[in-house]
Symmetry: C2
Subunit: 483 residues, 2 copies
């Protein structure tokens, strides 16, 4: 739970040692704190030809209350920003020492429809990257390739992946880079996602590609909308308490990542129902007491568990289900018992299927709801000694992909997060060399924290994330490891 190298090289003495020896110096990541402003610094805007998203970007910049500067590639930004009454200026390269003044780089590539038009991407990042401060944010916006009208446009949009992932690996200094594909009609549904990627909440999420589709479900979302004092429909949620009036089930909530998920969801206003095995009842109850939540001590692998959980939730229903509970029983397959294989598959995968089916069949998971499964980089890339775990976690990806279209008519989204190396009691027990390799083999040069996984789940559970479904988001600091 303690990255002593990270602490050392970020101490005054350690920083001198690291510099003189040429050692890598991972940045202490800025993370969300309720007592600090969430967004800071200038936002530099760039764009390719005929950008489609600048209008929505102007809304976003107004909503989060930052000052924007327009790179010369975004000629349209200045008049637009003025129309929106925004503070804005032209991007000027930082003089030495003033690099920290830009907090985020956003490039609207949605208008690029041919691979011959990609030069503005170079111009923008060439000019701006050095002005981006520590823990800065890079967001590239495009159109979902598979929805493009022509192969040329699809190709150019798909090429953005290679750029964004390279920028994430090049930028260092705690900077993240992510690519958001905004579907036709979803132009005004990107705020929750852009807020997440611009915020310190996404500290450990980099190199990811997210698609936002037009959800077409405003009615469903508004059914649970807040109404103001006069009974008028107000904004469907409060950005500070987006999960207010939502009920969230979290499995494996007694401690570790699960407790962190419960805590973040509660901080965003949700009433949390934490589930964990009976032997963890004391820890679970203590965690839930702190959050004013509800503790349910069930073994989710038991045959009767789905019915028990459904019965316990029946009165009030539930809006958010987070399948976090999971186990490992690592051995090479030649040495793995059938029991170790089967119990990992059963708890990590089959139990999720049984519980969701019970909650969906009885209508306990309400329309407009959210399901988030916890997968793993092992499920994406495979891992020696984890055939059982990787199989189960790859299955979680299949589950999310297969269920998303079926749940769409009810406005329910289903997504997965895939953690990389997260500092937990489990990783603290790893052999030193393995632990150090896991920590350093990513663009941020360090492990993530449980709260990084939790914040990512909270974003997917957000009422503003209705257009995101069937997707897998890694929380891995852009780990080198993949497939």
């Amino acid at each position: 739970m303690n990255d002593s190298y990270l602490n050392f090289v970020n101490s005054p003495f350690g920083a001198r040692v690291a510099r003189s020896l040429g050692l890598p110096k991972p940045e202490v990541l800025r993370r969300y704190r309720a007592d600090e402003p969430e967004f800071g610094g200038l936002v530099a805007i760039g764009a390719g030809r005929e950008p489609h998203l600048l209008d929505s970007l102007a809304d976003l910049v107004a909503s989060i209350g930052v000052t924007s500067v327009a790179h010369e590639s975004a000629g349209l930004w200045m008049p637009l920003a003025h129309r929106h009454g925004l503070l804005t200026g032209r991007f000027e390269p930082a003089e030495s020492g003033s690099a920290a003044r830009v907090g985020a780089l956003i490039f609207d590539a949605s208008g690029i429809d041919d691979s011959t038009q990609m030069e503005p991407l170079h111009a923008f990042f060439h000019d701006t990257l050095r002005s981006l401060g520590k823990c800065g944010r890079i967001v590239v916006l495009g159109r979902p390739p598979e929805a493009c009208a022509s192969p040329r446009q699809w190709t150019a949009q798909r090429a953005l992946e290679g750029l964004t992932r390279s920028l994430g690996k090049e930028a260092r200094r705690g900077i993240t880079a992510n690519l958001v594909y905004v579907g036709e009609g979803a132009e005004h549904e990107m705020e929750a996602t852009l807020r997440f990627f611009l915020s310190p909440r996404s500290a450990y999420v980099s190199g990811q590609v997210v698609r936002i589709a037009a959800d077409g479900l405003h009615g469903v979302v508004n059914r649970v909308a807040v109404t103001d004092a006069g009974g008028n429909a107000a904004s469907p949620f409060d950005w500070n308490q987006p999960l207010a009036n939502r009920r969230a089930v979290v499995t494996g909530a007694a401690r570790g990542i699960g407790a962190s998920i419960a805590s973040v969801l509660a901080a965003q206003g949700a009433h949390v129902i934490g589930i964990d095995i009976p032997s963890a009842r004391d820890a679970l109850e203590a965690t839930m007491r702190q959050l004013n939540g509800t503790a349910l001590a069930f073994d989710i692998a038991a045959p009767e568990a789905p019915a028990q959980i459904a019965a316990a939730l029946d009165d009030h229903g539930v809006d958010i289900v987070v399948h976090n509970a999971g186990i490992t029983k690592d051995k090479t397959i030649a040495k793995m018992t059938g029991g170790a294989w089967q119990s990992v598959i059963d708890i990590n995968l089959c139990a999720q299927e049984r519980i969701d089916d019970a909650l969906l069949a009885a209508g306990i998971l309400r329309d407009g709801g959210r399901i988030v499964g916890v997968s793993s980089i092992s499920g994406i890339a495979g891992n020696p000694g984890q055939t059982n775990y990787a199989t189960s976690k790859a299955g979680v990806i299949g589950r999310v992909q297969s269920m998303a279209p079926l749940l769409r008519p009810r406005g329910i989204t289903i997504n997965a997060v895939a953690p990389g190396f997260i500092e937990t009691q489990m990783t603290a027990k790893m052999p030193l060399t393995l632990r150090e390799a896991g920590r350093r083999m990513n663009s941020l040069g360090q492990g993530g924290l449980p709260v990084d996984v939790a914040q990512t789940i909270a974003w997917l559970a957000h009422p503003g994330s209705a257009g995101i479904s069937g997707q897998v988001v890694r929380v891995c600091g852009q780990s080198l490891i993949g497939a």
Copy 2:
């Protein structure tokens, strides 16, 4: 071009040193040689419940002429094999010292339609993996998840990815593991693909997932079929010379990977038209002379190149187009000139688009043809210092995905290969530590050879690969690096 560590630890003295120091000992990979039998050793067969592909597997086993042994999970195999007149037996775990007798493990998982049914996968690989010899082959067969009838089936089939990739990382000893999803109706179109994955031709391809769709284009394929002496339609191709009567264009063919591609295609019977820049004319002509090919010295990036190439090919048409030509101009984006950005995008991506469009518009690329683009792991994972290259290579993936459905009615497939660390003159010039990291960070513990890329392209160009389109196959020894 010379992996001295690999050579050292595989020498009698070096092997002793490696053993006593506990150093890793990557296996010298077995590669295809015309003077050695392509398939050897027993093939052990396993299956999950109600397997759909055993019948086709029996045809394959008969066709390649090996002896099969049935694991107890594949109870149906014995009677089936007897009906096919195959030599077969029951799998018995190897006694110590006899491990090399099994050459391949094939598991038919196509009948698994729920995550609760995955135990036979464990039983099979638990029992057999230690009996698999050096440079052995693991092939898992399933159904394309996205085509499954139920979410449960989709989930279980998708879970196979995690298993296969873990097996690839666990197996070592030069063993590869790949997953083939066989679509409904494509049961009898898997031979070319299974031959490739079972053969030493796929020495450096591991951890890959390939989909075979029913091509529905037998007419197109048979149009160019060989007829026997009596004029009857015979097999549409000869397994020993599958590219006979095919004409193949290869760009960047003067040397390196391109020359190897040209050579392998020629060895399989194709007439090769090699293209390279005018300054490489001598090398190109020498290479083509050896292969009885045709040399075309054009700069593919020139505006007139597509028309020139089309004109040069117009008389006879062409069946196979391999876009291998590519350049790198590495710099961090802050230091990269606009020219370096644009020339890499233009040569690696835009030129492919222009040339294909010219060949397709004029009907020069014949129905039933094959296009293969060379992408890169950098295009998948991004790479620091290669924003231009990674963007271009990600674009190649977009191109393949976008064009596949459009070319389907003409029976033309389009796919990409994504090489990892391949031993070339370029990698020989890398700094030692970078080169060593690239070589070792994959499941096979070594770099690949140009011929590994070439053989993979030849498989995609094969007349029996009609059901494979829009896909990206890494030739990377299952590199750790991914996305």
